[in-house]
Amino acid sequence: MQIDRAQTLAPAALHEPRNPGLPLDLDWVRRVQANTSAIERRAATLPGRRSVKKDWQAAWLCRAISVIDLTTLSGDDTEGRVRRLCAKARQPVSPEILETLGMTGLTVGAVCVYHDMVPAAVAALRGTDLPVAAVSTGFPAGLSPFHLRIQEIRESVAAGAREIDIVISRRHVLTGNWQALYDEMREMREACGEAHVKAILATGELGTLRNVARASLVCMMGGADFIKTSTGKESVNATLPVTLTMIRAIRDYHDATGIRVGYKPAGGISKAKDALNHLALVKDELGDRWLRPDLLRFGASSLLGDIERQLEHHVTGAYSASWRHALA
């Protein structure tokens, strides 16, 4: 049983071969289509087609917790704040509730912080298998000098970050300069070394779903291990239509190469119901394999609180209150 738990609850237990990338295939990129109305219709009808109740809901919410990149990305972050976040990452739900659910040992997927907070996070998570993810490359705008962005990645890795969330240059997408986007992605991937790289597309700033689909593909060709929707700082972040667009790109990439690239919606998933909808969409469009932390992460900060309340309701039958659950 111990082994079983280690395999399924520990975040990095499953290992896909990393995405080596492909030479830039512009024909493929230009062939990509994304019909906004149709994508929105699919996204809009999904919550009516898929829902999980009772034990299934509790189990799915635990799954959601297991893929959370528990995140703090604020100008007022301090080491103390980061230590608190890490404590919550190790024990995301009260031990009593987890015990009742038979889910003792459940943790989130990772902790996601700014570069300067990496050492504090690494220290706070020592003794766990939880990776620290750093947002590097001049987050969130990605407009600092390129060599500094590359240097930031290297320093984050050196500081102990096992995952690097990079931001792409939106201007390359907006001007259709796919070569530049590809080259940037390649270099950043290179700079990450052994650390996994998540490419943040900042989909709220890309203008169209067609651009989102094409940027997703170019980043995968450039070697991204994950593609991620947003910094959380754009006015529109992870929506179901964006998720659908990006995971369909991941599916096409898998069909063509056999490589599974991970997906991280970030920002905007703040309610348990949002998380369940995203899980259902990923399950139906990509398949169950993508429901594990090595291929799926939710970038979220307030989501966990809502899930905790739902889980307590599941256990007790009474609606919960936020102050009953430990702060992050």
Binding site: Q33, S37, G48, L101, R210
Partner: protein
Amino acid sequence: MTIKEIFDSMEYGPAPESASEALAWIASHGGRFGCFIDGAFTEPGETFATSNPATGEALAEVTQATQGDVDRAVAAARAAQPGWTGLGGHGRARVLYAIARLLQRQSRLFAVLETLDNGKPIRESRDIDIPLAQRHFYHHAGYAELMETELPGRAPLGVCGQVIPWNFPLLMLAWKVAPALAMGNTVVLKPAEYTSLTALLLADLCRQAGVPKGVVNIVTGDGAVGEMVVAAPVEKVAFTGSTAVGRRIREATAGTGKALTLELGGKSPYIVFEDADLDSAVEGLVDAIWFNQGQVCCAGSRLLVQEGVADTFHRKLRARMATLRIGDPLDKVIDIGAIVDPVQLATITRLVEASTEGERYVAPCPIPAKGSFYPPTLITGLSPASPLMQEEIFGPVLVGTTFRTPAEAVELANNTRYGLAATVWSENVNLALDIAPKLAAGVVWINGTNMFDAAAPFGGVRESGFGREGGWEGLAAYTRPAATPGAALNPVEPFTGEGQPLDALDRTHKLYIGGKQARPDGGYSRAVWGPSGALLGHASLANRKDLRNAVEAANAARSWGRTTGHARAQILYFLAENLSARAEEFARRIDGLTGQGGAEEVEASLRTLFRWAAWADKVDGRAAGAPFRGVALAMREPVGTIGVLCDDRAPLLGLVAAMAPAIAMGNRTVLVASEPYPLAATDFYQVLETSDVPGGVVNILTGSHKELAPVLASHLDIDAVWSFSSQPLARVIEAGSAGNLKRTWVETRARDWTRPDDRAFIDAATEVKTVWIPYGEG
């Protein structure tokens, strides 16, 4: 299963909707239902069981209505009709609004009851059927309110007999009842025998909505009851269902004077171009053919994929099929529910098993052991000749083939007897908007499918039926002109005589086919005498072969429908110009034929040509206000080839007044001239020849109406027949039209051709095609 195990497997669990409220409603009626007549339920008579197809268990006993029940229902509707009309538009609007609100307040009860009785997934009844039915009543409350000011000169038809199918029981009821009631009609409606319950629930609710007694009557039972409703003394029959039954209804109502609309079967093409968003097009198929278990008249059941992307598309499609969930329709996580009845299941199975062609893929979805279920199935690599490509399966079975070019896609799409709906997927607006008008279908969806709304007309062409439901256009099916009709049309007999020929030199009056004068195939002519017995000449007697040739010529002139309205107007003006130049000659000819009124008739003919030249570029269609981001264009298209038996009384005007609107709207015509007075029409050939009318657009025959009418009516390549003949031909034309379900318009009253009746001609000369164009980028 423990939470930990589910956490690992990430399966969907059961998410059942409770049936208890719906079952309690059934129990509150003792589990047995009578008919709903004159505002009350009758005592149940001889009953039959209605079952839940997902379990096979009986839900309730429903009455097999008798002739007496139908008679009482029609009598109640008849008695209630003047009061209902007299209530006025605003009064009726209040009642329709109340029905809509009550439907909304009871929406879950309706949804669950519908799913229990029909087997469709609760998601669909909850999110699609019931909301659309509500929307239909809301929207038509508005038409009731606006009728007096916006539809001046229109009056209700009277009592409407309505027979609806089992695939969308409440929604089809709403489509039938809402417009009928809005326009001041009363109804006798028969739901399908498999699915009577929501109609009975609605009847229950009508009492609470303040619907006056007798305005809505529901008679339940099988096809025999449907036949009684069709045969009853009603002013209008509306039917939605199979083409076979529609054809029988067309025959049964022929010559009765009952208005008729038919919404029938389909084998709708679903066209995927290589530049489409393929994933979205795959998902569209889930809404097209796996919606309501494929039991949808407009289901996109015929997949046409461009060759270059066919393998990719089929692979994606098979992958998507594998994630469909089939099972208990009351489960909220079910995509595909039960087939309505084991009889239907057997039909689907038989059709599919009879075919060995193509590659068959059956989705590997687990299927419940009990109940009436059929797995999602894809059969690719079929040829157009395969029966599965032609016959409506009415189940979750998608069949398909590939195409090379847009032209080939259109050719394949139109290679069907049906013409209900079509779907086009392409990211190229030029391509999509070029294809839409070329498809023989009443509804075209671009980059989407199965979109419906009360504001957007729905209905078919060809053997998918005629008439529209929804929108302003749909109201025509439930109104008639308010003006008192003219006197009955009496047969006009030709003059006889023994006199000498009037012409100094013998003239041969031939037929006019394909822009050329042609001798009659049979080699017979008839002497035409004037009122005083003078021999005016000999008119050719066209036979069935001449008619066949004329239709071929007309169909070869198809490109006329693609000319601009401006160009057609120019030709109509030119016709007027050339007729005017010979006005005196034509006036003399008419005087010679009929003995009177030649000059006036020529003048009226000139005005008529001007009038339709004016209209040629002014029939605009409209953008319907359907609640979605996009436009739903209700476009007016030519009907096609129209055969006309011209008014016997007016040798020139009768011909011109039918020809002009038909060709102004882009149709080709085969005109059978006034039988007693044919020689003005034959003189008109020269006017046509000098006016740049393309050959085949106007073809003129002379001869016996009685002999040609059945040939015209049964010709399978004619799209409409109009008759203004003085002969009593309604029965023969309407019955004969059942073959290809062509549109018919048989005038039995003496029409005053000097009084414009433009809207009637525009409606008859055009088909409404609704093109849904969702848009959005970003």
